[in-house]
C-alpha cells in the first residue's frame, strides 16, 4: 500500500522499506532544508495538550517546506472546552486542511481520528499509546550516527515498562536484527508481551539491573525518564527515581562510535557533565525531528 494519503497512527503502520524511504528523504532535507514543496498546502496542527518540542518541530518542518499552518497549541481556547467531541473537531478541520497533525491525551484517539477524517492524520502522540514520528526520528538519529541500522547493540535504560518511546523503538528496530540490552529496575522491567514479540522475531535481548558495566559494548545508549505520574505509590517512585544517572566518567570505556540518545525532556537521568561529551547526541536528535517530519509530511501528501 502506498504511503500517500495513508494516516500514520502507529509505527506498526510502516514496513521496513517504508521506514527506510522516510529516512532517505529526511537525509535529503537535512542537506537542503528549504524546499517549498508544500506551497499549495494547509496543514492543521491540533495540539489538545501542550508539547513544545513536538509541536515546534512539526511547525518548523511545515514552514521550511513553505506550507501554511492552522491550529491550536492547547485545547483551552477552542470549542473543545465547550464540550465539542473529537469527531466534530476532526470533521470540521478536515474540511479546512490537507493533512492533520494531532496530539491528544487519550489513547487510541489518533486511530479514531483517522477513521472519521477525510484527510490523513499524523499522530503526534496519543496519550501513553503511540508517538510514531518520535520513533522515526530516533531511527534517523541511529542511522546517521552509526552509518547503518542493521546489527547494532542497543542499550535501553530507565522506564521500560511504561515508556511508549521504548516500546515503539523496539518494534521499529526489530526490522534490523539488533541485540537489545534492557536496563531497568525490577518495578519498571520490559513487559512480557514485548519479550514474547522479540522471541517470535528471533531477536537477542538481555536484561540487566546495573547501568555502568552494561554500556561498554553499546553502539546506542537510549536513556529514558522515569515518570512520576506513572506511579500510584509515591514511595515506589522515590525508590527508583535516582537509580540510573548517566555520568561522564561512566563513558570512559565505552566504544568510540557510541552515542547517547534521549527523547527529552530529561530530568536528572543524564548528568549535565555528559552534555559536552561528543557522545552526547540528544540535542542533535531533537533537530533531526524536523527533517524526519518534513519527510513524513511529504511522503503522506504524495509529493515525493
Amino acid at each position: 500500500m502506498l504511503m500517500k494519503n495513508r494516516s500514520l497512527v502507529s509505527i506498526n503502520d510502516y514496513s521496513r522499506i517504508e521506514i527506510q524511504q522516510i529516512l532517505d528523504l529526511a537525509e535529503e532535507f537535512e542537506k537542503d532544508p528549504n524546499q517549498p514543496l508544500l506551497r499549495q498546502y494547509v496543514i492543521a496542527s491540533l495540539f489538545f495538550e501542550p508539547s513544545t518540542r513536538t509541536r515546534l518541530s512539526f511547525e518548523t518542518a511545515i514552514n521550511r517546506l513553505g506550507g501554511r499552518v492552522v491550529g491550536f497549541s492547547e485545547s483551552g481556547s477552542t470549542s473543545v472546552s465547550k464540550g465539542e467531541t473529537l469527531k466534530d473537531t476532526i470533521l470540521m478541520v478536515s474540511n479546512y486542511s490537507d493533512l492533520i497533525v494531532m496530539r491528544h491525551p487519550l489513547e487510541g484517539s489518533a486511530q479514531y481520528a483517522s477513521e472519521v477524517s477525510s484527510v490523513p492524520i499524523v499522530n503526534a502522540g496519543d496519550g501513553a499509546h503511540q508517538h510514531p514520528t518520535q520513533t522515526l526520528l530516533d531511527l534517523y538519529s541511529i542511522r546517521k550516527t552509526q552509518g547503518k541500522l542493521e546489527g547494532l547493540n542497543i542499550c535501553i535504560v530507565g522506564d521500560l515498562k511504561y515508556g511508549r518511546t521504548v516500546h515503539s523503538l523496539l518494534i521499529a528496530m526489530s526490522h534490523f536484527k539488533p541485540v537489545f540490552h534492557f536496563i531497568a529496575p525490577e518495578e519498571l522491567k520490559i513487559p512480557k508481551e514485548y519479550k514474547i514479540f522479540l522471541d517470535q522475531k528471533g531477536i537477542e535481548y538481555h536484561e540487566h539491573r546495573e547501568l555502568a558495566p552494561n554500556i561498554r559494548n553499546a553502539d546506542i545508549v537510549y536513556m529514558t525518564r522515569v515518570q512520576r505520574e506513572r506511579f500510584s505509590d509515591p514511595l515506589e517512585y522515590e525508590k527508583v527515581k535516582n537509580v540510573y544517572i548517566l555520568r561522564n566518567q561512566m563513558l570512559e570505556n565505552t566504544k568510540d562510535n557510541m552515542r547517547i540518545l534521549h527523547p527529552l525532556p530529561r530530568v536528572n537521568e543524564i548528568h549535565q557533565d555528559v552534555d559536552s561529551n561528543p557522545k552526547a547526541y540528544y540535542f542533535t536528535q531533537a533537530l533531526n525531528g524536523v527533517y524526519t517530519r518534513m519527510a513524513i509530511l511529504v511522503k503522506i501528501l504524495g509529493i515525493k
Binding site: 489513547e107 484517539s109 486511530q111 479514531y112
Partner: protein
C-alpha cells in the same frame, strides 16, 4: 433434560431456549440479545441448580430464532451456553456458542484513558484469547480480560 426441571420455566411452541447461562450474567445476555426490547414472549429462570455451573439461568424466547453471529455475542459471558431450537414443542436442533474473532460494541475497554470511554463511539476488539477471554482494543491496544468485562 429432566422433565421436572423443564417445567420450572414454561414450555414454548416455537422459538429458542438458551440454557447453561451463568446466573449472574442473565441480564447481560438479555441485553446483548436485545431481549429487553423484544415484543415476543420471553420467560426466564434464574438461580436454577446446575451440576456444571453451580447455579444457572435459562431463557426461553417464543417465536425467535437467532443468527449464529448474534448468538455468538453472548459467548463472552456465557461460553457454556447451549441453544435448543424448538418447533412445535420439539427440539429440532441444538447449538453451542463460539467466541467470535472480533467483538464490536457489547463490551467496554477497561483502559480509562482509552478514547472509546470518552466519545460516543462503538468499541472494537480483536479476541486474543478465547478462554478465559482476552480482548485487545483496536484503539488503545490495551487488553481487557474476563474479570474486567463491562457491558455497554
Amino acid at each position: 433434560m429432566n422433565h421436572n426441571k423443564e417445567l420450572k420455566v414454561s414450555a414454548i411452541k416455537d422459538g429458542t431456549v438458551i440454557d447453561h447461562i451463568p446466573s449472574h450474567y442473565l441480564f447481560n445476555v438479555m441485553t446483548i440479545l436485545g431481549l429487553d426490547h423484544t415484543s415476543h414472549q420471553v420467560t426466564f429462570g434464574f438461580n436454577l441448580e446446575s451440576k456444571k455451573l453451580g447455579t444457572k439461568a435459562i431463557i426461553k424466547v417464543a417465536g425467535t430464532f437467532f443468527k449464529n453471529e448474534d448468538i455468538n455475542k453472548i459467548a463472552l459471558v456465557a461460553p457454556e451456553a447451549k441453544l435448543n431450537i424448538i418447533r412445535d414443542y420439539q427440539v429440532v436442533e441444538k447449538r453451542v456458542v463460539k467466541v467470535p474473532d472480533q467483538i464490536i460494541g457489547i463490551t467496554k475497554c477497561m483502559n480509562p484513558k482509552c478514547i472509546t470511554n470518552h466519545e460516543e463511539m462503538t468499541t472494537r476488539f480483536v479476541v486474543k484469547k478465547k478462554k478465559p477471554v482476552e480482548l485487545k482494543c483496536l484503539y488503545c491496544e490495551k487488553i481487557t480480560d474476563q474479570d474486567h468485562l463491562e457491558f455497554v
